[in-house]
Assembly symmetry: C2
Homo-oligomer: 312 residues x 2
């Protein structure tokens, strides 16, 4: 569904006709024509990266574009020759992510995790909830995904607190704190939304102790990466009712195995990594690529460069 195709490329090239002129494009799958193409390629776009011995295999290569947003699986970037730049697709997911976060917040507020657990048990229990406006969302990570979450939350009338490495305030956050201050804001959250990239700093950030700082009435949604949170500790809290509900779109591993306990954990909604993905996102990716290609041709710094030290 998310694969590049000749037709998708042709449609994008038509939208960006001037830029596309003179480009020679090779499309392949599963590495079938990879090595031959790399011998002459200036640019590479793919969902997997050719990491072995790249300096020799791709003597002209200068720019590699990921189809996804999270570069965690490519870290550390010691395989990437210094003359090359890696760019991610952060931002393409923002529109869909805003829809998904609005949905998740409304579902958590309406106690849908508990209501749907009751449906599995064929149990009628009228769990009422007040309107959502005026509640507080803590958004962990406030890049493009986090800011989309922030816009969703503000659109529902919530107070938004962002938690980021720098603590710098971006639009749509009412309050911004540094990651080091996360323990001060977690107790204020009616909802915690995880949108951060997976890095050395965020791995295990929402551990058992931090989850215990949340109100028992609070809900939690993770649309970023599973290892940012201790899922075992979360499940224990869901089982003993010390947190209201959770929606997890990301898992470790994926696909989530059929024998995972998550599927039947009470008050937990399991989504199969779908919240940020628009089936038409290859078109949006190609539009972004062409805009970046215009910068590339002029020798300007590329947008969405993955920082070798920060990992996003």
């Amino acid at each position: 569904m998310f694969q590049m195709s000749g037709a998708r490329w042709a449609a994008a090239a038509k939208r960006h006709a001037l830029l596309a002129k003179g480009l020679r494009v090779t499309i392949g799958w599963d590495g079938d024509i990879l090595d031959k193409a790399l011998q002459t390629a200036d640019m590479y776009l793919g969902s997997t990266m050719p990491r072995d011995n790249l300096d020799v295999r791709a003597p002209r290569l200068k720019w590699l574009q990921m189809t996804g947003a999270g570069a965690d699986y490519l870290m550390p970037l010691d395989w990437l020759p210094k003359r090359m730049v890696l760019t991610n697709n952060s931002g393409a997911q923002a529109i869909k992510a805003k829809d998904s976060v609005a949905m998740a917040l409304l579902m958590l507020n309406a106690r849908l995790p508990a209501v749907l657990t009751n449906q599995r048990k064929k149990r009628w229990e009228q769990l009422y909830s007040p309107p959502i406006a005026g509640k507080t969302a803590v958004v962990i990570g406030f890049g493009r995904l986090g800011q989309a979450a922030g816009r969703a939350a503000k659109g529902l009338g919530l107070n938004v607190i962002s938690v980021t490495r720098t603590g710098q305030r971006a639009r749509t956050a009412d309050l911004a704190v540094r990651t080091a201050q996360i323990d001060k804001v977690l107790p204020k959250a009616d909802f915690v939304i995880v949108t951060a990239p997976l890095t050395k700093e965020t791995r295990g950030l929402l551990n058992r102790d931090r989850l215990d700082l949340m109100k028992p009435s609070a809900g939690l949604v993770n649309i970023a990466r599973a290892p940012i949170m201790d899922h075992d500790a979360l499940c224990a809290k869901l089982e003993n009712g010390s947190i209201s509900g959770a929606i997890l779109d990301v898992h470790d591993p994926e696909p989530l195995p059929a024998d995972s306990g998550l599927w039947s954990t009470p008050n937990l909604i399991v989504l199969p990594h779908i919240t940020c993905d628009d089936p038409d996102y290859i078109s949006a990716l190609l539009d972004f690529w062409f805009q970046n290609f215009a910068r590339f041709k002029k020798g300007k710094p590329l947008k969405n460069r993955v920082d070798r030290a920060l990992g996003y």
Copy 2:
């Protein structure tokens, strides 16, 4: 949870001190003090109505206020003496209903009914969906609940078509048609939202033939009354995949019995009649009652009068 209490009345009376002055209030449950109170009451407020022989039992009574919105269970109003007025609580549900409809639309768009059916089967299947903006919602009934649904849909960037008895266009509807024209607009719907009161005209409105007019990719939500729709026909369509998904908040009977097939129908989300109810709605009801009481004292026509012929 939704019962009147002395404390709730006292709090409301404090908010409306001038109006409350001189009012003598009696609060009872399960009819314990009903007949004694009715002998002298000018006004009545309750979730059930004293329908038998009311003319004789309540010689001074002029105004009966319902705590709910739908008067269908009180129809026909032949029990209501001509000198009395019945008012409903339509409108109090609007804020909560807007949240709930936004949630339902986003869930249907994200194919959550199928995704949650997969969770019950512990099955990982990445069902992707595009952003919701630009799709079309058909709202059946466009009173205060329907208009709240319309605001939710417009807020998500949808096109809104309202279907009402008169066909008159209200704000937030892009197109308005009469109920007689419903067959023309159902095929346009990505989402159908049922918010109409249950009346002679709406009972059975969404029958098998009309449900068959919907696109196979469309979703459906009923937050009004169950008998407006043929639930058996809906379930058959959900079973054979000729409709994408449905969210039913209203059932017949309620509570939905544990042996009902609805609980485990694929691509169906069962909510236990919670979408329009704010746990603090008695306060809102009392505020509305005091505003109406000000009109009552001045002899002005009351708001939210239930029409004897129309039934809402």
